[in-house]
Amino acid sequence: MAITAIFGARVKRKEDPRLITGHGTYVADITPPGTVYVSFLRSPYSHALIKRVDAAKASALRGVLSVYTGIDFKGRIGAVPTGWPITTDPPIKIPEYYPLPLDRVRYQGEPVAAVVAEDRYTAKDAVAMIEAEYEPLNAVVDQEEAVKSGAPQLYDSVPNNTSFVWHLQGGDIEAAFAKADTIVKQRLVNQRLQPTPIENRAVLALYNQGTGDFTIYATSQAPHIHRLLLSSMMKIPEHKIRVIAPDVGGGFGSKITVYGTDAIVGLIAQDLKRPVKYVEERSENFLSTTHGRDHIQYVELAAKKDGRMLGVRVTSYANLGAYLSTASPGVPTYLFGLMLSGAYKISAVDCKVYGVLTNTAPVDAYRGAGRPEATYLVERMTDLLAREFGMDPAEIRRVNFIRKEEFPYTVCVGIQYDSGDYINTLEKALELADYKGLREQQKRLRENGKLIGIGISSYVEMCGLGPSRAVRGTGFALGLYESAVVRVHPTGKVTVLTGTSPHGQGEETTFAQIVAEELGVSIDDVEVVHGDTGAIPWGMGTYGSRTTPVGGGALALAARRIVEKGKKIASGVLEVAETDLVFERGRFHVKGAPSKGLTIQEVALSSYQSDRLPQGVEPGLESTVFYDPSNFTFPFGTHVCVVEIDRETGVVRIVKYVAVDDCGRQINPLIVEGQVHGGIAQGIGQALYEQSVYDENGTLLTSTLQDYALPTAMELPEFLTASTVTPSPHNPLGVKGVGETGTIAAPPAVVNAVVDALSHFGVKHIDMPITPEKVWRAIREHSR
């Protein structure tokens, strides 16, 4: 692989000029002539029978075009599909869930009726005029309560609200536990979170009466998947729908899901033959756009007294919410269970997961999707074990790490980590944080009654989703390859079509960097197009840190095919053998005779003139690659967090945060840092501030941004970041992806730090979010 200045350079982003001048185009910004607006009536109850919905007054309001309820779509709209019916025995129970319910609501905020009006304000007024009567039913919001007999049942087809029981085993767990000197046990809560992209969801549907085609603008992380699932729900053939994701304001997993509301809006457009727009309000986003995490885990870790971990046993209760969403079954199972040995040589894993339905919002992927839950478990248990043995937490990690020479390393559950050097990132992080100095400082401060804590989190994560064979084996509906088209125009400019769908990750720049590197063109001459099913052959979207390794991998291969073809064309035009030609810095030339050559731009023109092409070479200079990776990628690293605790109030302040991450080769270090910052911020949010709270009736108490505690700039520290580079051996570019690493590494780093600060009181564990009150209670309980 040639390495020029552009790959690996801190290039300013190409997407920024429009965004910083207010000329981005988000779905809510698009208003074709004649647009009408949808507003939804949503259930105030978390579990109820719908007795009556009377829209007479609402329909009569001036400016209201129509009011729809569930009955209006009966037979016309399909169930909301799940794209990941995981393979379990007995088979997973997927309840039939329809976009507008006919007779029963199962979570607070579930849409019950849709008003269409000439403007948003009128639509909102009309919603308030709908008379709806409900018969409340008992609700259940906690997953451990929901599986008990006697609990309110959400669906007759899902007894004990248990959609599935999933079991993963690797190695010999009985032997591991039999050999152990110690078994550490802990109940861990990975609390429910609200992804909270700053842009709420929106959808704009246009219907062409003449052709029967739909054009749907959606805040989607995966337009082609959106189209496929919409086709199923709307019962409209796939090829008659075009989905466009324009600028999208963040997603973090919640915009992978295809929601019933989008299908409703599409069908309304067909009825009214006018553009129909729905823009979610924040409270609607919090009530009905997918939540994340929500696992309750019972963990046992078996180890020898020299610190070596032998086996881990987990029983996890995953709250899936009121219905199965696009990826929800796979997140708390495969994406979680497969990573339970972490960065360590743990030879046995036994993991059982109960997928439980409750009267709450659906739960699906949220940045990290299963891997933060796994890493939190592994890193907390490692610290608990270290404490049990009186070992330094850094030392116990060194003892257990998979060694650099041992890669590729197949873990006991069968996946193969591609490459890693865990000791390297640990040592680097400890050095940057001045770990020795910190421990000394901690000792001194403790003598004066001051509380500081140091937390380490060494993670490895599985991303770059993913090798289709493996993925399909888990029950995922499709493969997770990616497509790229590289199209060189007659003037030598390049258009890239990528099946990924970035929404902040910067691929308009980094993909241009890849092409600039491979083809020797200027990045200004490369335009990266994404998010439009009308332009892009097929794509699986952006999530699971796959855009760079899989999307970028496809792109690199496509660009290399361009060079291959270019060589053929150049050989025809220059009348030399292909083997006599080299390609460097954008030019094909004869080996040893650099003056005899053609630029890639000249070759491009030739390809369209096509009068001197060699036999068998078609005109044009374009290539399409579908790249199916042979494996996942495994970025890794160590984060070190230092906290100061106010003894009296319990307030935790992060005074230092060091992150050393390895995502393989970096296309643009500026963007890598940004992804790490953002991930850490969300991880700290989980550790200290955020939680979705439902009361026992299923009322969401954190339904506004006043109540859901998203960190501001004042809550977050400055992050000291560094990186190492351990390329992925199987990826065409050696890249691994980095978008989720921060969210994965940070929560245990922070929690380990807090517990470390309080350990001399005897505090062993505090569940997230570690609010000041929880700290205060822990100190009190242990000071008695």
Binding site: D16, P17, G22, Y121, T704
Partner: protein
């Protein structure tokens, strides 16, 4: 109700409902969609614009989702679209670009307008002051670090006469 104001140096006259929020007026009536809506409860700051009241000499930042268009009668309003002059970016915008202070870009106009207001009052801030100055704006992508750096850089560039 009649509404007369100046938006980005243009005089505008409109007939509006009293309950029309300023952010909706800007976005839907004037087509200036650079100002965004991110929440319902005045927390996220994505809708931040600058307003100069008739009695005042200075622009102040406010959350246009928590202000009626009619309250802006007789005022001057500046939105993100009005920040660049003749296609030339404002130093704050340039600093955001240089420092990778945005990812999805949705919160960005709100941050830039707030930064503008903040720097007028604090021309030579330190990081802590900046963090406080932007505490009414939420970003979910960047972790704020590069935003703080961008504002710091902008303050230095703007301070150079």
């Amino acid at each position: 109700m009649k509404l007369k104001l100046k938006v980005n140096d243009y005089d505008v006259e409109s007939e509006v409902e009293p309950r029309l929020l300023l952010v909706d007026y800007i976005r839907e009536r004037l087509g200036l969609t650079g100002t965004h809506i991110g929440c319902d409860t005045s927390n996220c700051g994505a809708c931040t614009v600058l307003v100069k009241f008739p009695s005042s000499k200075r622009f102040v930042s406010l959350k246009s989702c928590t202000f009626f268009a009619v309250q802006a009668d007789g005022c001057e309003v500046k939105t993100i679209e009005g920040l660049s002059k003749e296609g030339k970016m404002h130093p704050i915008q340039r600093a955001f670009w240089e420092n990778h202070a945005l990812q999805c870009g949705y919160c960005t106009p709100g941050f830039i307008m707030q930064a503008y207001s903040f720097l007028e009052e604090h021309p030579s801030p330190i990081s802590e002051e900046i963090r406080r100055g932007i505490s009414g704006n939420l970003c979910r992508c960047t972790g704020y670090q590069n935003i703080v750096k961008a504002i710091l850089d902008a303050s230095k560039e703007m301070g150079v006469v």
